[in-house]
Every structure is written in C-alpha cells, then in structure tokens.
C-alpha cells in the first residue's frame, strides 16, 4: 500500500471515527499499519481499540477482528453494551470477529522448539472470514506471561507486525505502560509507525484523561496532550488548540432582551458572536440577567445553551419564572439546553472538553456560562482554560455571556481571572448600600466597536423582569432607590409649586388687565361725554354767531335805510 503513496499526498489514513482523534492525527491512524495505544490500567485502551473497530464497521464499512488476550468475548459484549455497541449483532452480521486468546502458563508445558504460527492462523482465518480491514490485538503483551522464552516471542511479534503490514491491515495494538518505557515489553520497538499514549492523571482528587500522539511516521500530528472523555456516548478527544485570532466577525446586532440596556448602546444591542462579561457581587442578579439574554435569544428562534455550575436546571427555570420568564417552554421546544455540573466534578480540561462536545452536538447560537468564577485552581491554569473556552466559542461565532462573581476582595476593577480585557463587552453590576438599603446599579464598562453610554443605570428586578431606570444624576449627586424616589418626589412638589405660582401670576395679570381695561372704558366714556358737551357748546356757539350775523345784517339794513 505505502510504496505508491510516495507522491506528495500524505499517508493513507484510516479514520477512527472518534471525535477529535481524527483531527489530531490529521485524518486517522496510518492505514495498513499497526498503531500502538499504550497506557496504565484503566486508561481506556480497550475502549479506544473497540471504538476504532466498531466505527470502522458502522461508519466506514471496514470489517474488523478483535483479538482479545484478556477479556472473554461475552465480557466484551456485556461491557460495550453500556455504550450502545451491539457487538453480538455485528458478529452475526459478519462484520466483526472476536477471538479470545487465553494464555495460561500453568497449562502449557514447553518441550522444545515452537513458534506462534497458531496465532497467525487464527488471525488470518478471522480476517479472511469477514474480509477484515482492521485488527485489534488487546493486549498482546499478555503473551509474555504465557511463554517462557521471550526471544521466541519477540521474533514472532516482529514477524506478526510484518505480516499485518503485508496484509495491509490497519491494526491497533494495546500495551500496558511500563517503567521507564512506553510498554512493559517494549512493544514500541516493533510498532513504530504510530504510538499514542493514554494517561489518567489525578490532580487535587480530580481525574483527567489525556492522550498524546508520541509519534506518527510520515505524518504531521498534534503534539500536545489532549484531554479526552469517556462517557455514555463513547470517547471524545478534544483538540482544544488555541486557534488564532482570525475569525469571521458579524455586524449583526442582537438585542439583549433588556430594553434599557440596549438603549445604552448606540447600536441598540450587542454584536452577534461577541463575548459579554457580566460581573457583580452576590445577589446582583447575574443569573437573572443571563436568563433574560437566553429568553430573548430563544424568542428569536435561536438555540441556546446554559452551562450552569452552581445551580440545577430546574432551579434556574423556577427562579426565572419569578421574574416573569418562562424558560421551560424553550427547553420543551428544543431551543434551550441546560448543562449543569459542579465545577469540582471534573478537572478544568474536562469541563472544556465536555463543553466542546456539547457545542458540537447542540450547535447553539448563544451560550451562557454561569459563573466562570466557579472554576477554581491555579490562576494560570484557570486563565488558560477560560481563554481556550473563549476561543472555542468565538471561533464558532457563538454569542457568549459569562457571569462572574466578584467577591469583596476582588472589589474595584476586579480581575475576573484576567478575562475582562479579552471580553468585548463588560457589564459591571454594583451593589450600593446607602440609607439602610441596597440598590443595584449597572455600568457598561466597555463595549467594543460601538459608542455606548458612560452613565450609570439603576436596575430593578421586578415581577416582569429586569428594568433599567435612569439613575438620578443632579446637583444632589447620584441617587438610587428610595433616595432617588424621595428626591424625585421633592422635585415634583417643587415643580408643582412653581406651576401654581405661575398660574397665580397669570391670574393676577388677568385681573389687573381687567381693571385697567375697565378704567380705560370709563375714561373713554368720560371723554365721550366731554366731547358731546364740547360739541354742543360748539354748536350753540355757532348758532349764536349765525344769529349775531343775521342780527348785524338786520341792524345794518335798518341803519342804512335810516341814513
């Protein structure tokens, strides 16, 4: 198989179908070659091997042979039934062959030269019967306990791996971790194409499984230790590599669901895919605001995931109902999913790993993590984990709300695991204690890429949700709560008084105008009377004058006649 593959193209690979492992190995295990999985007891070697086979059958139509040197076929079937693998069904369908090789030294007497041709015959027979492409040998090192002469075994193993390669079988060989070397019997010496080490580490009483590709001939591969997960859904390996900062950005604006909050930003909401940090001390309503975000997103028909670390899903739903939010309806409609787990249940890596898997499965548009301050551990590790969590979410364009508890000691511009500088939006909730009451105010400390209000807002948690109120900012300073109310009442009274004064003056002016107008009327009436009299006098005067003239004429005539 391999000689032809010397062209630029990479080695032919056999995908394992295990989430993440194929990413790390850039396609899968080397096809037609053996791969060694080694690790201490309980690392999941057998599980990896069986998953490789079952996925090969169900996803890639490659039948497989499982040669077990430890567990009996019936035990394997029972154990893997818990993962939903129907081994009996696969065997019956002629896709899977399980051969249990029992090695018991007590039953074997060595009486001269021998080889392990029997093993070859059995493997060859099983492979030929079902046309297998994949083979698992689990754990072949058990042979070393069955035979006294390791030199024969080593020679035979070398021959076996050569034979596997010649047959073009993709093989997984498992081996127990040994002291100072990868496996007890140094299997890595024979299986040198691809070696994957599994590890199960306990730190602070928390177990984390990790996987590392030690070598992979002829192919690049991820070199880190990657956490992996074994649960009811099988294995998932999480290539939580910190991706670069090249990611698509969205200009779409999505409202928060809290009216007053949106109006604090000129855009009327947050950018889709942005990360929002909501920090506040206990009892400032972080979860409630988070519920608002979720409710608004679900109402838009978006899918949401709520990662809760301190409460249960039902508690969140019940508490949200008290502020008038019905989150249960979204859960029922399949738009909202809660993932509740105690932070101490797994290590940080495992939390990240689970989140990775959940995101892949549910594909949400919005995620709320409540709260990130619940992650405890060495600060650098917590920071690195959260950074990767942020990267993970951002690279998928998921809008994320992180809540963070600020304690009294981290008061001030609390560091929040040093994450605040990485966030796009930082909303700070503050509890103000004054006049014998606590009031909640909110600042928009930052909101990248948009102009936003620099002013404080008071918010109240009411039966119908969170309400933002413009805090009183005036000559008296910033007032909240009843102080704001009484100040507002005082101002209202003063305003009323001013209004009454104006009215009174207006009436006064009216009255005076009336009085003046009346005076004007009187004067005008007097004037008219006087004018009348004057006119009369004048008329009389004129009459008098005319009479006089007539009289003079009469007199003149009379005088003229007499002369």
């Amino acid at each position: 198989m391999s000689p032809d593959a010397t062209i630029l193209c990479t080695l032919p690979k056999a995908p394992t179908g295990i989430v993440g492992l194929d990413d790390i190995t850039l396609g899968g295990l080397p096809a037609g070659r053996p791969t060694l999985f080694c690790g201490a007891a309980g690392c999941g070697k057998t599980l990896f091997a069986m998953t490789f086979l079952v996925n090969g059958i169900t996803q890639f139509d490659e039948p497989g042979v499982f040669m077990s040197f430890e567990e009996r076929a019936a035990d394997l079937t029972a154990n893997f039934a818990s993962l939903g693998y129907d081994l009996d069904g696969l065997v019956a369908a002629g896709k899977l062959a399980i051969d249990h090789v029992r090695v018991e030294r007590g039953e074997i007497e060595e009486t001269g030269e021998y080889d392990l041709e029997g093993l070859f015959v059995r493997l060859g027979y099983a492979v030929d019967t079902i046309g297998a492409k994949r083979v698992v040998l689990d754990t072949i090192e058990s042979l070393f306990s069955g035979f006294t002469d390791p030199s024969i075994l080593r020679a035979e193993l070398r021959r076996l791996f050569g034979w596997i390669k010649d047959r073009g079988l993709t093989a997984v060989i498992t081996g127990e971790r040994g002291d100072g070397q990868l496996t007890r019997q140094g299997l890595e010496e024979y299986v040198s194409d691809c070696v994957i080490v599994l590890d199960n580490r306990v730190q602070d009483q928390i177990t984390t499984r990790r996987l590392r590709v030690v070598k992979y001939r002829g192919s690049a591969h991820g070199t880190n230790e990657y956490p992996f997960l074994i649960d009811g859904q099988g294995i998932s390996v999480l290539p939580v590599t910190s991706s670069g900062l090249m990611r698509p950005v969205s200009n779409e604006i999505i409202p928060s669901g809290i009216f007053g909050l949106d109006s604090m930003m000129r855009t009327g909401g947050f950018y889709r895919g942005s990360s929002i940090l909501l920090s506040g001390v206990a009892g400032t309503g972080k979860t409630t605001i988070g519920s608002h975000f979720v409710d608004a997103a679900c109402a838009r028909g978006e899918r949401c995931m709520f990662f809760v670390l301190e409460e249960g899903a039902d508690e969140i739903c019940r508490n949200a109902r008290s502020v008038g939010l019905d989150l249960k309806q979204w859960v029922e409609r399949g738009l909202l999913r809660f993932e509740a787990s105690r932070p101490s249940l797994y290590g940080l890596e495992m939390h990240l790993a689970r989140m990775h898997r959940d995101l892949d499965a549910f594909k949400p548009d919005m995620v709320v993590v409540d709260p990130i301050s619940a992650f405890r551990g060495p600060p650098t590790e917590v920071h690195a984990t959260l950074l990767r969590m942020l990267d993970l979410l951002k690279s998928r364009g998921i809008t994320t709300l992180f809540t963070s508890l600020r304690t009294e000691t981290t008061e001030g511009e609390g560091t929040d695991h040093g994450l605040s500088s990485l966030m796009d939006v930082w909303i700070k909730l503050v509890d103000i204690e004054a006049n014998g009451e606590r009031n909640r105010i909110l600042y928009l400390v930052k909101s990248r890429g948009m102009s936003h209000s620099n002013q404080v807002r008071e918010y109240r948690v009411t039966d119908s949700g969170v309400e933002l109120i413009e805090a009183y900012i005036g000559p008296e300073g910033v007032l909240t709560g009843t102080a704001r109310l009484s100040q507002e009442a005082r101002e209202k009274a003063a305003a009323k008084r001013r209004l009454e004064e104006v009215e009174r003056r207006r009436r006064e002016i009216g009255r005076r105008r009336d009085a003046l107008e009346r005076q004007i009327e009187e004067l005008r009436a007097n004037l008219e009377v006087e004018e009348e009299e004057a006119r009369k006098l004048l008329a009389e005067e004129e009459g008098h004058e005319a009479t006089l003239a007539v009289d003079r004429a009469v007199f003149a005539a009379r005088r003229g006649a007499a002369e």
Partner: protein, 124 residues
C-alpha cells in the same frame, strides 16, 4: 476435577489392558496441532509417536490437525504455539508446546511421570 473420583495421575500405563476409551481411565486422547509439514511439525509427530509407543502402548489415540487445512479448529483448543499437543483425555486438558524433543518434559506434561519424580531420582 470431579469430586468423587479425581482422575488418576500416576496410573502406570501398563496397569490396565482394556483399551476402551469410555471405561479405561488410563486412555489418552491426544491431538497434535501443526501448520503444514514443517521441520518442527515432522519432528513433533515422530517424537510423539515414539513416546506413546514407549509409554502408552495400546492406550492412546493421536489425531493430527493441520491448521493450514482447518484454521477454524485453532481457536477451539486455544492454539497459539505450533506445534501444540493437547491431551483431551484424561481430564484435565493439558497443552504441551514445542517439537516434543524433550521426552522428560513431555512425560511430565502428560502426567505420565509426576513432576516430583525427577528430584526423587536424584536422591536415589
């Protein structure tokens, strides 16, 4: 091992002359697994025949199984090494691997000669 009658371990082969496998507790049913006519296989066959004739004359049966012809049979008797001699009867099942060139060990392996005979011989 059965409770009432444990199989005879040190039964001298010549003690009973009846050669009916059902009633003869000293009857040996042997299977020799080989893979083709290799040097080791041929040596094992020759050695087995000689040992049986010397120690179990008339009380044994040998079936030679060539796994190249019948690969299916390999898993039934848990065969890994070739050649393997399996003692089916008397119980319990015994496996002897190798070309059977070490007669002493074959006899011990088949319970024809007890393991602790060796040191006793030395004492004598």
């Amino acid at each position: 091992m059965t409770e009432d009658e444990s199989p005879p371990k040190d039964l001298p082969p010549e003690a009973d002359q009846i050669s009916d496998p059902d009633s003869d507790p000293g009857y040996f049913q042997l299977r020799l697994y080989v893979a083709g006519q290799t040097v080791k296989s041929l040596a094992a066959m020759a050695n087995l025949k000689r040992i049986c004739e010397d120690h179990l004359a008339g009380h044994y049966e040998i079936i030679v199984i060539d796994l190249l012809k019948n690969p299916k049979l390999a898993s039934g008797d848990q065969i890994l090494a070739i050649p393997t001699l399996v003692r089916r009867l008397p119980a319990p099942l015994k496996r002897i691997i190798g070309d059977l060139s070490n007669t002493e060990r074959v006899l011990v392996g088949l319970d024809i000669r007890a393991k602790d005979v060796g040191p006793k011989d030395k004492d004598l």
